[in-house]
Symmetry: D2
Subunit: 244 residues, 4 copies
């Protein structure tokens, strides 16, 4: 089965900040997409600047899993497009918000919480521990891996209690963070992954690419059962009817 | 400790439909409020027609638990007020949506799903089973209780997997439904309760009043810990700084 | 990937009760195994009467998913073998207890609760509703299916709150039951499925075979990450040592 | 409402190791009990060496919450007494295993997993972050607190996914750990708390005493509903009877 992936990026830092552009000459979306290349996936990209932010009905309809990177332009995503993403997740599309994508409109709407955190710039070591070694998103990892320099995110992370806590991060500056969380909303699977600050070459790191590849495969839709909603006739005969 | 309860009602059916008005001469909110009267609670009501739907910042600020009944006017609640309710839940206010309040803007935003169901009018027997007899919302109940005539709600109920499933309903017409579900969003506790169709005297029934009283006490805020969010200084000294 | 399934059966009713033997001439394990036949699975059976109940270390080591039917002989399973099954689940083996297998030693030990229910013999209609239509165990099902005659199980079911509630049953006699529940223990996936009373030809029913096939595929082990436990050296240098 | 607490301790290190005895001249149970003293609680202690380990039917019957410290003598607790504790938790008694009490027989049996971890002796700083600031067990705490010297516990912690993750620890040596986890088993509430190594004066620390006091209040039984189990008569008339 081929998984059709769309990697979405606001694509602002790479165009406005030379340091970021040098790190990601093809954009963060380009680097993420490269890391997902595989015989069992097709990967396309989309960005904020395209019509409908590149997320037309047609694009989403043929997307199995949407990977989402965003940060400074979270507020510029049109409400209508955010709702379109949310609707597709409800219908079964997988959704993998990365880093500040936690404050994207689609993720906040799917969670129903503020998704607020504490943070710190400047670069410090992060060690990501596998808390759920039996989870397929951890397939092939060692017990932990390090990101040598990164922005810090710290608890308390204002999200609903997750279905599974796959990763927990240790930060050199003294904080911790639940860095890989699984959710279901409607038929869609969601995996929120913490790393990915734009000022560091994180999306070229092997372990990060491994996690995103695993997450995309895990989040791909499955067939499921028929769901009938709306007004229905009774299955059994009703004797106690009291229709006012 | 006194729990300050606000019972909110769209208050439309009682004004427009004579049968409903006869059942609920003081409004559904009046009947719910009566059932919550107790030495350890203060109870006030609010309706859609009041300025800010009766849910001003001041009212919400002093509300510990908001009980919410709505149905045909879910779409008339202003977005700004719905967001105000959601924000207060995040800050700790309990929220108890009843019956079609499952499709109120605040509940849908807190869940992040469609909250869609199947349903049937006409009146039939519902038997509500306690699935979690150790839960405080079930305090004082028998193993089940019946609602002699009601609208049916049927699975699949499109909500996130709940923290606890307290009640499951059996319907004469052949369906089942998870009728009492617990959630946390931010600091706030949420209990979604199925019964309460406006065409039947359900809010005068002892067991329903018991459940709502238990739910209000359960959903009342607790103190909790300090939460620091936003940009912070490190707790430990950082040696690996690589600030680009 | 081939999933290696072992179907375990206490194999008592079929040998002692003529009616059951006529229904299941090859044993309940034989009927379940037949329903699981597929190009991507190998299926073997084991019974209580074999040495080590047919569950030697070697058999379990090469079993990806263990389907378990038991009832009157739950107490005759040796503690040592029950613990062996539990250990293998911790290591990743899927476990699918069916019907009274809910009171098998392995399932009770994995749950940590009594798994007690209410029940009734005599034959009545059960309608199994899909509560989680997006779950792979529901793949290919309609919104509900019926078992024409069966023993009833009723709530409250004394199990931990499940990871997912896939099915909920409606019974003609007025009860409800959570009939398909998902858990994780260690690396192993567990799916507890209610139907399967020995006095009815339930394991020849298409929908039941579909559910068990889906469950076996869902419960198959995945690779996961390395897990290091026991005493370890520090990753970071420790300055505050206060070794007494 | 008065909460009746029993603090159980294996009471071995304090008798065999002079350093521990000096820290805890009244035993670890004595120090924990002192920290729980309050107008709304009665506190008694029990130890391994007493008849029935001090946990007779009569003692457990009048215990609302059992706090449990154990380590090197986990294997010496008689199976019969461990099962008695488990049964009482199922009936509603709160259970608060502390530190290596995670490998006590009652906790392992309630979890259904190995509860295995990684660890390191020697003394290092632990910083305990509140991950769920809205939880009553965190009442009155700052966003984090430190234990200056302690044994390390590291992920992956082999327990079922918890109902709530209240605390996550940061360790100087580079590890993380979910240090405060909530569960329900039957009617009983369980809170597993990590700190408490015997070689440091941890149970005299204000924040630790605060957490244990909060946990005891949270874990106290509530009334709940009637639960009927075993064979029952139908509530509705059954027409499709097919009693073989």
């Amino acid at each position: 089965m081929t998984v059709q992936v769309t990697v979405w990026n606001e694509y602002v830092h790479e165009r406005e900040d030379e340091h970021v552009r040098e790190l990601y000459p093809n954009g963060i979306h380009g680097a993420i997409a490269d890391g997902l290349e595989s015989g069992n996936r097709t990967v396309q990209t989309a960005t904020l600047q395209e019509p409908d932010h590149g997320l037309t009905e047609a694009v989403l309809e043929e997307t199995d899993v949407l990977v989402w990177w965003s940060h400074c332009a979270n507020g510029e995503v049109r409400d209508e497009i955010a709702d379109r993403v949310v609707d597709r997740v409800h219908s079964g599309m997988g959704f993998v918000p990365v880093h500040s994508g936690k404050n994207s409109k689609p993720f906040e709407r799917l969670m129903g919480t503020t998704c607020a955190i504490k943070y710190r710039h400047g670069g410090e070591t992060e060690r990501i521990w596998v808390a759920d070694p039996g989870h397929p998103i951890a397939d092939g990892l060692e017990e932990s891996f390090e990101i040598p320099s990164t922005e810090m995110y710290g608890e308390p992370y204002d999200v609903p209690e997750p279905d599974r806590t796959v990763f927990i991060s240790w930060f050199e500056g003294g904080e911790v963070f639940r860095s890989g969380l699984c959710y279901r909303r409607g038929r869609g699977r969601i995996f929120a992954f913490r790393p990915g600050h734009e000022e560091y070459p994180i999306f070229f790191q092997d372990e990060v690419r491994r996690v995103l590849s695993n997450a995309v495969d895990w989040a791909a839709p499955t067939a499921g059962a028929t769901a009938v909603r709306g007004e229905v006739e009774p299955v059994e005969s009703i004797e106690s009817t009291d229709d006012p």
